[in-house]
Symmetry: C2
DNA sequence: AAGTGGTCTAGACCACCTT
DNA sequence: AGGTGGTCTAGACCACTTG
């Protein structure tokens, strides 16, 4: 008797992915129902479901109740990256971490910040500028706006001791984050704070954090020259 | 009689997440076994497993067989982004897509490329430089190296008609991708091809693609000024 | 060696969506 | 209204990893 080894969900995933790549199922095509695939491959429907969950997360197929499973017409490469607390990022590079508060003021939100938060009218927010250092050299320059309606506690935090970055991550849950990457030239104050020549190319990360429908904070982090961000998968 | 509504895995996830955020389980702490949580919350172990799967993917906890589930000590913000085929990216902005092949040569890999592929000795690879345009204006300048050992078929593709980007996505499965982001100053040929002033800040995406242990291709994509990449979650 | 997470199954019911 | 994916359960066994 030939004892068949049991089929795993990764086997199913690999089989379906292979069929998509070799055009057995073409872009836009509807795949068989989970149950039929399960029958064909000889496993439980749950196993097919697990495989599909993976393919769906990876962006290869799209699933809808009643609509069925379709091969995505626009294959995308989906990647994931981690943004740790800046202090840990520095420490993991084996460098000594330092932090300087540059300024802390209540101000009316400028237009660009209103756009980040999706609001129409200027309001008072806490604007915090600070510098993160690695081995006493500038690492990241942070320009942050914090909504004091959703996070009034921030007003009583001593930001000379703990960075807003760290305090927020530790005390404020969030439900959604938007991140934008871009490049900018070093100019004026930015170049000065980062101790870098005017005109150099700097890597910029902008993050806006939300809890439900309410914005918490938006931050523009400008990295010193040479900074690189990695992602996988 | 009070009929309890059935507990869903999102309920379990939210409950555990809440406990982590309010420090019932502190960073580094070991959580109860799945089975105990299931007993406590009154659901099946599978349901707890599904919840943990989500928390683990989100980077909140770390799970190991026998080791159990631990709250991560370094909370990270994990975000996901899509990299579509460049043509679709342009078209989705409502712009007209064009493509120009700049050069196509068999060359020995320089040191930087050997590092991307993790190889020790220089070998012959196909080096393709090309320009993607949106509404006839430079959009992305691509400098790509393709391993002709793993992908010999590329040698017979007419790259004046179809970009290597598109051909590879359509015909070559991959199992792993590494992405690196950085910023660089516009200089020499790069500035010229992108029709941008020397010294401007440019956004750079480097991708290396693998199938199993074998590298397929590595590409440096330099975006025209103003380019922004977004990520979510 | 044993504990804990990971997976598979079979069956049931639910929820969403298209027709 | 009905079809399809999504989830829950209970039980079993497996596989990894740590003590």
């Amino acid at each position: 008797m030939n004892v068949e080894t049991r089929i795993s969900w990764t086997d199913v995933r690999d089989e379906i992915r292979a069929r998509i790549l070799n055009r057995t199922y073409e872009p836009g095509d509807k795949l068989p129902r989970d149950e039929d695939i399960a029958l064909e491959l000889g496993c439980a429907r749950t196993t097919v479901h697990r495989a599909m969950q993976d393919l769906s997360l990876a962006g290869l197929v799209e699933r809808k109740r009643k609509g069925g499973t379709h091969v995505r017409t626009d294959p995308v490469t989906r990647a994931t990256f981690d943004i740790p607390i800046t202090r840990r990022e520095v420490e993991q590079r084996g460098a000594k971490y330092n932090y300087q508060l540059i300024s802390r003021e209540l101000k009316e939100t400028p237009l660009a910040i209103m756009a980040c938060f999706g609001i129409q009218q200027a309001v008072q927010m806490l604007n915090v500028k600070s510098l993160h250092l690695a081995d006493n050299r500038p690492y990241i320059l942070e320009d942050r706006w914090i909504d004091i309606t959703s996070t009034p506690e921030i007003l009583s935090v001593d930001l000379t001791l703990e960075s807003a970055n760290e305090w927020l991550v530790r005390h404020k849950p969030y439900s959604r984050i938007e991140v934008r990457f871009s490049a900018m030239s070093a100019e004026g104050e930015t170049a000065q704070h980062l101790s870098t020549p005017v005109g150099g190319a700097l890597f910029v990360i902008e993050r806006t954090t939300w809890i439900g429908p309410s914005p918490i904070t938006t931050v523009q982090a400008v990295a010193a020259p040479g900074y690189q961000l990695s992602a996988r998968s």
